[in-house]
Amino acid sequence: MSVAVLRFPGSLDHESAQRAVESVGGIATSVWHADAELPAGVGAVVVPGGFSYGDHLRPGAVASRAPIMGAVRRHVDRGGLVLGICNGFQVLCEAGLLPGALRPNATLTFVCRQASVEVADDGSPWTAPLGVGARLSIPIKNNQGAWFGHPEIDRVALRYVGDDRLGSVTAAAGVLDESGRVLGLMPHPEEACDPLLGSTDGQSLFGVAAAA
């Protein structure tokens, strides 16, 4: 099965995400936002980071209404996996595939730095291989990364360790849908898949995608 990496106008990290899939031995396929269907044989969908539609109106808002998102919804209904990274997380929230919304960082600035996140919920295909408490060193890079939701009912998958919480409710760095098959996170695991980049902690998530 291959991993479909979506591409919208303003997507920036689609190539990095494809390379990350390939770094764990998976096969990545680029999928255009205006297409109505995913290619056959897709096990997992990655919605990559970037500034789709310039972050205009609300980050992810315009992309979440693209034709391909209907196909992503059907893929989830069929039991498929979806990973949304940064802007991809925002797209999935706006599409209603993940709970909550992403708001401007408490600093009101863009923040680019290496962050440490901890697995808070390992009852999902994405996080099961890591286990609760596992720590990952992954860069964050965003200016609207403060997750707003209802952690009493919503599933928080990852939390920031330390002060880098951006203003997220309960320091959430990533959340799951009810089924656990859809994961969205603000940190960029595709930029932590190579020893030359200083961390390979992102490979676990791409390993799950590649094996789906």
């Binding site: 303003g10 500034f51 600035t109 680019c112 200016n143 960029h188 030359l196 980049l197 200083g198």
Partner: protein, 724 residues
């Protein structure tokens, strides 16, 4: 003088002589649109009329140079099948007016220059100068410029991997915002701006045309329209989303061989883009202004010179036009055939079926006047009398204070607002010397830096020009790379006044000598003059952007200390002096002239030592001297060191003195002999050992001691404390 009585050409900034020259070139009086077109094309900004003669001095050739100065960007081969396009440019004045949009559109402009070469932008850098941060205006300009650069670079997905920023009262009235971009391109696919092929279509791609940045044209219009308020030039608002689509679209068009030529629209908009394309190709271009998609009603002259951003001009064969437009539509971009290539050499603009301008394209470009600048040597600077420099009562306190000064302190507050990682290729991040970006699909990586020694240049123009180039080269070499090519932005005051012209010539001479010693060319550059107010002129500020190559990306060297027990050395020579230093805090004294030949040998040693993995870390000694360099190594590595420095006239001179070409290097004890063997004639002075959580420096009987934690706090707090 009111618009009604002042001759039009003067209102547009043309001299009487220039106006006569225009009439002679046309063999008739110019129409209003023609006069506006000449006024912009013959401005300093477009024609380099005060600097052109001097720029010829730069070495600009070399074995790998595929494109030297004269195109949108320089191009140099880095490995078989791969070349780099590079260019730096200023956006000083727009940033002073509206720092967020000015700085943002500066980034947009330099990215389109790289794109025009058919290259994929892979890295951005910025070089910034503001007044002291105690000035509210300078704080505002600094904070908003940084936000603007981040906004644009982050949104287009090109990592901003490095740069520099400095604060000095001399920039209070004229801040500097320079941006550099580097791209990659296959040598066989380098695009050029030369139009060719009569009947080929001229296609405008990207944003609609509005009244953005229209200067002269609106002066003219308002003279006729009785000072209409709405005719004031409007600030260019940045649209990085459209820029990203332009990038994706133009790269797709280029890689599908759909374009004959490509050119960005920058200063003087359509006039500049079309006349340069025509002049370079020895052809003419005939434009139908009625076809240009507009955002608002504009006069023909305004359309011709509007500086609306995020637009490119392409020359396309008629049979490929539909395909080009289809690709643009897929990217949700406007693409409109606005004219054709002709074979008569004229730039023609039509409106409402009438010809409103017909000018030989070369009259606008090649026939612009060139002036000799006045060369008056300034009086030489006075030597610094150490007795006039108060000696710090406590060296450690002085050291900590220096670490927190905005010019020395960590620039984290800046570079964390920039996405310096996007693309997943940044393998040495900002914070040290040069940044390192690997080339996907290759073992090689490139090192990038911008540097400038403006205080040195103020006191000794030739020495400061050389020092700017050599500091850049040291930063490149410190990460283990070999300098490959450079680009430069010469920011100067009014060239028609005082000693500016002389300094311009001398800076260029000093830079050229240093470049020759390093054996690298200048492949592109930019000049920004008139950076002065009645109260202040800026220092001569020759910003150097440099790229270098590391053969094996994995061999790159960081600046932080690595292991306890490593040996600390100073590589390179020159004596530490307080003249023009950060510790002195002003441009005073007589800094030593750099020794370019020995610095070139130092750079080669560092590159070789990196390749052979003989060094653990390396860090250039610059602002704040060895004391600051050591502290930065310790902060980055979270490890202290015990060091003894050679005695100078005074301990503060040994600690904080600058000058020479020196680099703090560490190596494993077992590699020390191999490093010495590799050194050849380059001085290597062993000064101590890495370890512990204290930084302890002895100079004869004096001693300075700082904990790594204290140093970190002072260094990291410096800028956030003043901008918060």
């Amino acid at each position: 003088m009111s618009g009604a009585t002042k001759p039009k050409h003067r209102a547009l900034g043309l001299t009487d002589r220039e106006a006569e020259r225009i009439t002679a070139l046309l063999d008739r009086e110019p129409t209003d649109p023609e006069l506006v077109m000449f006024s912009l094309m013959w401005s300093e900004h477009c024609s380099y009329k005060h600097s052109r003669r001097l720029l010829g001095r730069f070495p600009s050739e070399g074995p790998g140079v595929l494109q030297g100065p004269g195109e949108n960007a320089g191009v140099v081969e880095i490995e078989p099948g791969r070349a780099l396009a590079l260019k730096i440019e200023s956006h000083n004045h727009p940033s002073a007016v509206e720092p967020f949009e000015g700085a943002a559109t500066g980034v947009g402009g330099i990215v389109r220059d790289i794109l025009a070469m058919g290259a994929r932008p892979i890295a951005l850098l910025d070089s910034l100068r503001f007044g002291e941060l105690r000035s509210a205006r300078s704080r505002h300009l600094f904070v908003r410029s940084v936000a603007g650069i981040g906004h644009y670079g982050n949104c287009i997905g090109v990592p901003t991997v490095g740069g520099e920023v400095a604060f000095d009262d001399r920039y209070e009235d004229s801040c500097l915002v320079n941006a550099m971009c580097v791209g990659v391109v296959e040598p066989g696919r380098v695009l050029r701006a030369a139009a060719s092929g009569a009947d080929n279509a001229v296609v405008l791609i990207g944003n609609r045309t509005g009244a953005d940045g229209i200067g002269g044209a609106s002066i003219l219009a308002s003279a006729e329209l009785d000072e209409d308020e709405d005719r004031r030039p409007s600030v260019q608002v940045s649209d990085p989303f459209t820029e990203r689509k332009l990038m994706d679209c133009c790269l797709e068009l280029a890689s599908s061989d759909l374009l004959v030529a490509l050119q960005d629209l920058g200063a003087a908009g359509l006039t500049s883009a079309s006349s340069e394309m025509a002049a370079k190709g020895g052809v003419g271009i005939d434009i139908d202004l009625d076809a240009v998609p507009l955002r608002q009603a504009l006069t023909p002259a305004e359309i011709l010179v509007s500086e609306s951003q995020e637009r490119m001009l392409a020359v396309v064969e008629p049979r490929l036009l539909d395909e080009v437009i289809r690709v643009c539509r897929r990217w949700e971009l406007d693409a409109t055939r606005i004219g054709v290539v002709t074979d008569d050499g004229d730039l023609v603009a039509r409106s409402g079926g009438e010809v409103v301008a017909r000018i030989r394209a070369t009259s606008l470009t090649d026939e612009a006047p060139a002036y000799r600048v006045a060369l008056h040597a300034p009086s030489p600077s006075e030597p610094l009398d150490l007795a006039d420099v108060p000696e710090p009562t406590d060296l450690a306190t002085a050291w900590r204070e220096l670490l927190g000064r905005p010019n020395v302190a960590s620039k984290r507050w800046v570079f964390e607002q920039y996405d310096h990682l996007v693309g997943a290729n940044t393998i040495v991040r900002p914070g040290g010397d040069a940044a390192v970006v690997r080339l996907p699909g290759s073992n090689r990586a490139i090192a990038l830096t911008t540097d400038c020694a403006e205080r040195h240049a103020e006191l000794d123009a030739r020495g400061g020009g050389a020092a700017s180039v050599l500091e850049a080269a040291r930063n490149i070499a410190a990460v283990g790379a070999r300098p490959l090519a450079a680009t430069d932005c010469l920011n100067f005051a009014n060239p028609e006044k005082g000693s500016t012209g002389w300094r311009l010539r001398e800076v260029i001479e000093g830079m050229s000598q240093a470049l020759e010693a390093l054996g690298i060319p200048i492949v592109s550059g930019n000049v920004s003059l008139y950076n002065e107010s009645p109260a202040r002129a800026i220092y001569p500020t020759p910003v150097v952007g440099m790229v270098g190559v590391i053969e094996d990306a994995a061999a790159r060297v960081g600046h932080g200390f690595v292991d306890s027990g490593d040996v600390v050395l100073i590589a390179g020579g020159g004596r530490p002096r307080l003249d023009a230093s950060e510790w002195l805090g002003e441009a005073r004294g007589c800094p030593d002239r750099p020794d370019a030949a020995s610095e070139a040998r130092l750079c080669e040693l560092l590159a070789r030592a990196g390749e052979r993995r003989l060094v653990q870390s390396a860090h250039d000694v610059s602002g704040g001297g060895v004391a600051v360099a050591l502290a930065e190594c310790a902060i980055a590595g979270r490890l202290g060191a015990d060091v003894e420095l050679p005695v100078e006239r005074r301990a503060d001179e040994a600690l904080f003195g600058e000058g020479g070409g020196r680099v703090v290097v560490t190596c494993r004890p077992r590699n020390l002999d191999a490093l010495r063997d590799a050194a050849g004639g380059v001085p290597l002075t062993e000064i101590g050992t890495v370890g512990g959580d204290l930084l302890r420096v002895r100079i004869g009987s004096d001693m300075a001691e700082l904990s790594v934690a204290d140093a970190t706090n002072a260094y990291e707090a410096g800028i956030p404390e003043v901008v918060a």
